[in-house]
Assembly symmetry: C2
Homo-oligomer: 291 residues x 2
């Protein structure tokens, strides 16, 4: 996983063609957040899904980079004063703290837009058929858009003004975090010409680990180690934010993470994924992580 | 032109599939700005370019809507307090004035992301070949992205802090306004299977009317009628913003608009566009407009 992560980081560092004229501050602001580290979970999922079906890592890389650009833009915009108003992210000052709000908004817009350019490179450079790549474009815009990740963030902002029950919380988790994880897996599958049954298995795997991932995040916010996390804990409690552990308690939440992980693995076994070992590894890593 | 404009408005009103679950405020905020009127210049250009080469209006419509979504998102984000801090747009309160800053940022993100979904519909619904549609995706992300429209806006923000000469101003105009106009024309051409020579003619037409359009905007800001414009004039003067009339004077600016318009028309005549009448009509409209 570390080796793949290094390859993703290298690809992300050269994400803008060198002969493109991009204003200095904008490029710097985009690069700052894109290279600020992080687990690279979503790119790893794209690549692991492609490889689980015998697809090529090279062909998966442009989409792996695209999904990280989308994730990074969403963090930059979520951290803005008008949104979650966060000063630190991954142990470093947030984008708007370094470059100012206007540059942070534009850096987010730039990364979001450029993600689609990166997806298109799968066809241009690695001969993924145009139909497959276009299906990935359509799914990225759907899973990251108003009924996907942006919708989840909007519901989260509305919920902070008081309206949340367990259904509302599920909606937020499903879209704010889950949708992009599901996208990553299905896009990896598409690059390796997955069958509809295999795409369905990857989607069910993604839904389950996505939800487990978010519950684990909420658990870590409650009992995690600030130094390892690179951000302050107990922020949900301080913000009086309703989370899964708030409804179910800590022990039941931990059990739910384990149950969802087992369910995720089962989906791959039932769904005819020839080589799921790397995807199993990622789901185990998520289960045991402390940051 | 009015008839086409009405068809674009109808298409934009139903831009989100009805069975999609989108949080109420987000959907409302997106629709508010998307249906707030405006000239619909960019969609008209997509359709006129497609029809100038014998392409179908139906097949051009998804891309026409997409370019208006991109344009609208850019206005929403540009109006934010951290950017231009505008309270009115097209005679109505700006998005963040009605829905708040967080919702306005997300409405912009949602429109930007959904634009790519809309482009993909050209293939799904109207059988535009996947290669053509993917080329449109790639160009949209390039012309609207960090080295295109977002880059132009970033350069404009930097320039407001004092650094501008005529070259800097050209960079801003070329990217902030020009790139999306050029995209609209080339995308319309691609839908009608334009040859490379025809695409080149459409690009030169777009570059010229794009620059003319921006100079005309600057002229109207200086001497226009506030009621017709739906916004206050002399804002550039008040902001001490450097504009083309500032460098060249009012009369020379007017002459330049006329010269660029003539050059634009010449590009179509030289470039083998079979039926350029509608495109000529749009460039004449831009030349004579008072809002």
């Amino acid at each position: 996983m570390e080796q793949v992560c290094g390859q993703v980081n290298t690809a992300l560092e050269s994400f803008l063609p060198g002969d493109w004229q991009v204003p200095g501050t904008l490029k710097e602001a985009m690069q700052y957040s894109l290279t600020a580290g992080g687990k690279r979970l979503r790119p790893l999922l794209v690549i692991a899904a492609a490889e689980s079906l015998g697809g090529s890592r090279e062909a998966a890389m442009p989409v792996a980079c695209a999904v990280e650009m989308i994730h990074t833009y969403s963090l930059i915009h979520d951290d803005l004063p008008a949104m979650d108003n966060d000063d630190f992210r991954r142990g470093k000052p947030t984008n708007h703290k370094v470059f100012g709000e206007a540059a942070a908004i534009l850096a987010g817009d730039g990364l979001l837009t450029h993600a689609f350019y990166s997806v298109a490179q799968a066809s241009r450079r690695y001969h993924v058929p145009a139909e497959q790549t276009l299906a990935i474009v359509e799914e990225l815009s759907r899973y990251a858009g108003p009924c996907g990740m942006v919708g989840g963030q909007a519901a989260d902002m509305e919920a902070e003004q008081g309206v949340t029950d367990l259904d509302g919380l599920r909606y937020i988790h499903e879209h704010k975090t889950g949708d992009l994880i599901v996208f990553a897996l299905k896009a990896g599958g598409r690059i390796a010409s997955a069958s509809p049954r295999q795409l369905d298995a990857l989607e069910r795997f993604g839904r389950n680990i996505g939800f487990a991932f978010q519950i684990q995040d909420d658990i870590l916010d409650l009992v995690g180690d600030e130094a390892k996390l690179g951000k302050s804990t107990q922020s949900d409690v301080k913000m009086e934010k309703v989370t899964y552990p708030y409804f179910a308690g800590l022990e039941a939440s931990r059990a739910e993470v384990a149950r969802l992980t087992a369910e995720a693995k089962g989906a791959l076994e039932d769904g005819g994924i020839p080589d799921p070992a790397r995807l199993f590894e990622i789901s185990d890593f998520l289960l045991k992580r402390d940051h």
